[in-house]
């Protein structure tokens, strides 16, 4: 056995706990998860069946943690994990899964299949079977601090622009601020309007906030590729900055997996509870709304819909907040046929957008979103994840659909009352 395969197998073993065992013990091969997955519904390819994607982890569980599997292993009857299997599974685990978790909501046995695939990635990555694109993004995240290679000077340049445009000062490294805002590289490079929007809203709300120049990157390639150590290191950077600045709340920006990484996996990765709270920007804005600190003027009359970023809605629990906020400025909000916790993924989450090998399939499976949009024919789509936003723009262009995409935070900023 090669050293890397051994590492992979050990990483898979580490993933097995009571939940994994209960989940695999319960699968009856009913196939219903395939119908919950856009990588199956839009390609018709049975290898995209969610539970099948976790096969390497299932084999480890069966051969190491069940009586029958162990006995079978002695006689060479239990299926093994080898490099051939892991090579074959690479595309299933990384290209054809966004960890959106829709399968986990549909399985009649209650198997959290997305969790199993997320765990399978830990073994795949350790065995050297992660896609090049994600490896590159992860390396950049560790060495440069951003998966896209965005350094502090780039952020400073964008902040300068925002300050020039608005006449406001963006607070940096303010000790004792109530909120510490994180940003995704995509926001810094492609959507600096987000920084401007947040600054305006926070100014109007009269709250103290800051950006840390030491830890401003919210994304976490470690959880996408499936390397817990790296994921923990990236989380720790944020924890250190938040503790240094003694902030009360760290805000995860309009990014899905960043929220999953810092809000839900974060404390578990670093092994201790945070001394601060973590909230998604939409949760913070909804709090402002409840407290009467978010005053809105003017109504959008166009037909608006909301695309639920999977890690924010289904996997993250931020479902009502965007709707409360949209209703503040829209009289014409319409839901897609499946939405909220049952929403369909855009097709590019979970590291798929960083994986060039998956470029073709992510656009193909966008057909699911297209079908949803065709049913309600919105004038504009609002979302709260820059990754979704970029992919939705790609998809709409690919399918010749002319629907503008809006950021919820930015749209709110445009409607701020004086």
């Amino acid at each position: 056995m090669s050293a890397s395969l051994e590492k992979g197998i050990n990483a898979l073993k580490e993933q097995v706990d009571a939940t994994v065992a209960a989940f695999f013990s319960s699968c009856v091969h009913c196939g219903m998860c395939s119908e919950a997955c856009l990588f199956y519904t839009e390609t018709g390819c049975p290898t995209a069946t969610p539970i099948h994607k976790a096969e390497p982890l299932r084999r480890i569980w069966k051969s190491e943690y069940t009586l029958l599997g162990r006995v079978g292993k002695m006689f060479g009857l239990t299926a093994r994990v080898d490099d051939e299997l892991l090579t074959e599974w690479e595309t299933s685990v990384y290209d054809n899964c966004t960890l959106c978790g829709r399968c986990s909501m549909v399985c009649p046995m209650g198997i959290d299949i997305a969790m199993l695939i997320r765990k399978t990635r830990e073994g795949m990555a350790a065995a050297g079977h992660a896609p090049e694109g994600l490896i590159g993004a992860t390396k950049r995240a560790v060495t440069i601090g951003s998966p896209m290679g965005v350094k502090l000077p780039a952020l400073m340049a964008q902040i300068k622009h925002v300050e020039k445009d608005t006449g406001m000062t963006i607070p940096l490294d303010v000790v004792g601020a109530e909120y510490m805002l994180l940003l995704s590289s995509m926001e810094i490079m492609n959507f600096p309007e987000f920084i401007e929007a947040t600054a305006k809203i926070f100014d109007k709300a009269g709250v103290s906030w800051t950006i840390s120049t030491e830890a401003f990157e919210a994304t976490n390639s470690g959880i996408q590729i499936g390397v817990a150590d790296i994921a923990a290191e990236l989380v720790q950077r944020i924890v250190d900055a938040a503790e240094k600045l003694q902030v009360k709340t760290v805000i995860s920006p309009e990014c899905g997996h960043a929220y999953m990484a810092i809000r839900w996996e974060g404390p578990n990765l670093v092994g201790k509870p945070f001394s601060f709270k973590v909230r998604h920007i939409l949760e913070v804005l909804d709090e402002f709304r409840k407290d009467g600190r978010l005053k809105i003027t003017g109504k959008e009359t166009q037909r608006l819909t909301y695309h639920d970023p999977c890690q924010v809605s289904r996997r993250g629990g931020v479902i009502d907040q965007p709707r409360n906020l949209i209703n503040m400025f829209s009289d014409n909000f319409v839901e897609m046929p499946d939405h909220g916790k049952m929403g369909w993924c855009c097709g590019a989450g979970g590291g798929v957008s960083s994986n060039e090998r998956a470029d073709e399939v992510r656009l193909k499976v966008f057909q699911r979103k297209k079908d949803q949009l065709d049913e309600i024919k919105p004038d504009a789509i609002i979302s709260a994840c820059s990754n979704c936003r970029i992919h939705l723009e790609d998809g709409l262009e690919e399918y010749n659909m002319d629907i503008p995409l809006l950021s919820l935070t930015e749209t709110i900023a445009e409607h701020l009352a004086d």
Binding site: A22, S34, H52, S104, G110
Partner: protein, 219 residues
Amino acid sequence: MSEIEFLSWVRGQGFQIAVVIFIAGVIIRFAEILLLGRKANIAEAKGSEMSGGLHTIISRSVPDKSTFQRSAFTVTAGYIFHIGLFVTIFLFAPHILMFKSIIGFGWYSLPTPVVDAFAVVTIIALLAVLTHRMRDTVLKFLTTKEDYLVWMLTVIPLVTGYMAFHRIGLTAPTLLAIHILSVELLLVVFPFTKLMHAFTFALSRWYNGAISGYRGVQS
């Protein structure tokens, strides 16, 4: 061995062996799962694990509308044969007498012709499920030998029970002995195959609901 001796063996020693393996197997399987443990979640909770978990144990029995539309056959046939199995196993008067002799109490039974009809419907549903499994692209792809084995071990007691009740083909004691033997086979294999889902579904659904519930989502 005469047919009476055969019947008394399957009713006596054979049955005892099967029940012991079944119970021990189920205990071992649960121990295998639960002893692995699960790390406590130290992220700040947004909802309750317990209420989320308990809710999902029940709620996952009913698919949402869009899921039902996409998997209408699987859900419908699945419901029919599960209810059919429940009725034929637990609401058939002779079975209840058997349970009573072991655990000391019985319960309400359905009229025999009703149970008989349920048995037929269940067999038909299981045949439909098998056909679907053999023809559907995804199911064909997912299906293992174990799936076919489990299907056979489930349907045989139904068929032999039906034959024993209607005395088809063989003498009554032989038919009954074969029927009991087929159930014993099912019991022995049960803990070591996907049949365990009959018990672990609750655990699995609980974990799913708890993981989601903790994050404030009802799964």
